[in-house]
């Protein structure tokens, strides 16, 4: 009972957005809950108004690139923090952690200038590479790698297996669950970026879908809420599907005690 009620409360805003996206002009402003007819007109205008398909594709590409980059860099760094020993390791770790506290808004202008001088404006490189290094992900993976018995590492040392081979052949597969979790997390975060993609792109060819959402809202004249909500649905649908599809896998990973 509690479960059902809290479940409905949590998803209500999302359902509401879906419902509104099917409503016609007047219905929205009179505050109806249920559309009189399920019209797809809003979706049609949403697609007409902005190149949604291009945007969706770009979002997908950017998110996947960022995800891949973050996974590679974070797991490499986390591996170094757990399985290699060198002077200053702790110090560098704290340096990493401290980056989480730097407000992103404060770094935006210098970063824009950097990207500009690298000639990365209007490119996927400019959209993605600045996000490849992520303290949160490194932290998460480091905690996970720490739970890997150090004997696994020692056994491979005795067998003469190289660090890199141990990394790819043992650490990554063993930490699969956490890596999946992180992958989903970074995909979603990347998908939801707005201000940065707006700054570094100057044309529609590589803009992302969140900008499209903003493009549908207006300031001085009335926004067409039905169309905006249709846009909202188009923006959240891919991530919701990913979440629902990944849910079971995530769940499995979380429950499976593996060899502990």
């Amino acid at each position: 009972m509690t479960l059902t009620v809290s479940g409905l409360v949590m998803v209500f805003p999302i359902l509401y957005a879906f419902l509104i996206s099917f409503m016609q002009g007047g219905e929205v402003l009179q505050g109806s809950l249920w559309p009189e007819t399920f019209s797809l007109a809003n979706y049609v205008s949403a697609f007409e108004r902005v190149p949604l398909l291009t945007y969706l594709w770009n979002s997908l590409l950017v998110s996947v690139l960022i995800m891949a980059g973050q996974l590679i860099l974070c797991s490499l760094a986390a591996f170094a923090f757990v399985f290699t020993e060198f002077k200053g390791r702790e110090w560098i770790f704290y340096l990493f952690i401290s980056t989480m506290m730097i407000p992103w808004e404060a770094t935006m202008v210098p970063n824009f200038q950097t990207v500009q001088s690298l000639g990365w404006l209007n490119s996927y490189a400019g959209l993605t590479i600045p996000f490849f290094a992520m303290a949160f992900g490194t932290f998460l993976l480091r905690q996970q790698f720490k739970t890997i018995p150090k004997e696994l590492y020692e056994a491979s040392q005795i067998a003469g297996i190289s660090k890199l081979r141990f990394f790819t052949g043992v650490v990554l597969p063993v930490a699969k669950t956490t890596i999946t979790t992180l992958a989903i997390y970074s995909f979603l975060t990347a998908w939801n970026m707005y201000l940065w993609p707006l700054l570094v792109t100057n044309n529609e060819a590589n803009r992302t879908v969140q900008i499209g959402l903003k493009q549908m809202q207006t300031q001085e004249i009335a926004s067409d809420w039905g169309v905006v909500m249709a846009g909202v649905v188009m923006v959240i649908l891919p991530t919701l599907i990913l979440l629902f599809a990944g849910q079971k896998r995530l769940q499995e990973g979380l429950t499976q005690g593996a060899l502990k």
């Binding site: 401290s98 770094t107 979790t181």
Partner: protein
């Protein structure tokens, strides 16, 4: 003996070489991250600290060195005091409530029931919602004339609330929306934490005839504490840096009641072109988050029960 010593030095050399190669390997693994951090975080941060001591032109080029003046002005400005207070309140509203909610949902969803997967999906759904999309929806819910909340209140014969327009409620309203947006992520992590708790602990508690609330206090929460600690840390840092929903829902108003420091930084830097003042605020924010996080580690680690 000399050969022994000779061999020993030889060993030391090999070891030193190996230590160096270890260091090099470690650094090589870290290099990509360090490089990007350096370029996209540390460099701008250093620049921010530098700029906080200047007045700049609209393009952020320093013109006049003013030393601590930007900071002094901030401390004297009521606007900044309001910002600081709003930030503190926002953190206070969102972090504890968000964690309690997510924990409660996680405990609810950790039962073994048929179809529980559906509820888990429902609870984690907000994780798939972008801030932009969520804000649009919440703006609609909060709308004083056609929004759902006021219509519910009206149905209950309670006069409507100006959710986002009344300085008394605006921060609270934004906090409610924020809690909702952040629940999905916290829920997923906490559910994972719950599922890692050894079931035998509950079995022995059941044999001892311990009450449910006692089980919660004595087993679940202590065993969940490392996860809770992690979630708290991340939530705290995120709360201090919340930007999107403020921009979309209230733009810092009304009467600056939701003008949290990050938003104030954004406004100063991008709308008012006071890069110096914005930089000074960024430095203060960074220091605050750093102090809070360190404190949290100091206090939190003592209470955390590692398995």
């Amino acid at each position: 003996m000399t050969t022994m010593q000779h061999e020993f030095t030889a060993d030391r050399q090999v070891e030193r070489k190996r230590a160096w190669s270890n260091w090099a390997t470690g650094m090589l693994f870290l290099l990509p991250s360090l490089l990007l951090f350096g370029v996209f975080l540390f460099y701008p941060m250093v620049r921010t600290v530098y700029l906080s001591l200047f007045l700049t032109d609209s393009q952020g080029v320093p013109i006049v060195f003013v030393g601590w003046e930007n900071f002094l002005n901030l401390f004297q400005s009521t606007s900044f005091q309001i910002s600081a207070k709003a930030t503190a309140l926002f953190v206070l509203y969102t972090v504890p409530a968000g964690i309690v909610l997510a924990t409660a949902l996680a405990i609810l969803a950790n039962q073994k029931l048929r179809g529980i997967g559906l509820f888990r999906t429902m609870f984690s759904a907000t994780m798939g919602m972008s801030v932009a999309a969520s804000s649009v929806i919440w703006m609609f819910l909060f709308n004083p004339s056609i929004g759902l909340f006021n219509r519910i209140l009206a149905a209950l014969n309670i006069s409507g609330v100006q959710w986002l327009l009344d300085p008394q409620y605006a921060l609270l309203s934004v906090s409610i929306a924020t809690i909702w947006m952040n629940t999905g992520f916290a829920f997923l992590i906490l559910l994972g934490g719950l599922q890692n708790i050894d079931q035998s602990l509950y079995e022995s508690a059941r044999i001892a005839g311990v009450s449910e609330s006692c089980k919660l206090r004595k087993i679940t929460l202590p065993m969940l504490s490392p996860t809770l600690f992690f979630v708290t840390t991340v939530s705290l840092i995120n709360a201090f840096q919340t930007f999107g929903q403020i921009d979309l829902l209230t733009k810092g108003g009304p009467m600056e009641s939701t003008n949290v420091i990050v938003y104030s930084i954004y406004k100063d830097a991008f709308i008012n072109y006071n890069v110096g003042s914005a930089s000074a605020q960024a430095v203060l924010l960074f220091v605050t988050v750093l102090v809070v996080t360190v404190l949290q580690f100091k206090i939190g680690e003592r209470k955390v029960h590692y398995q």
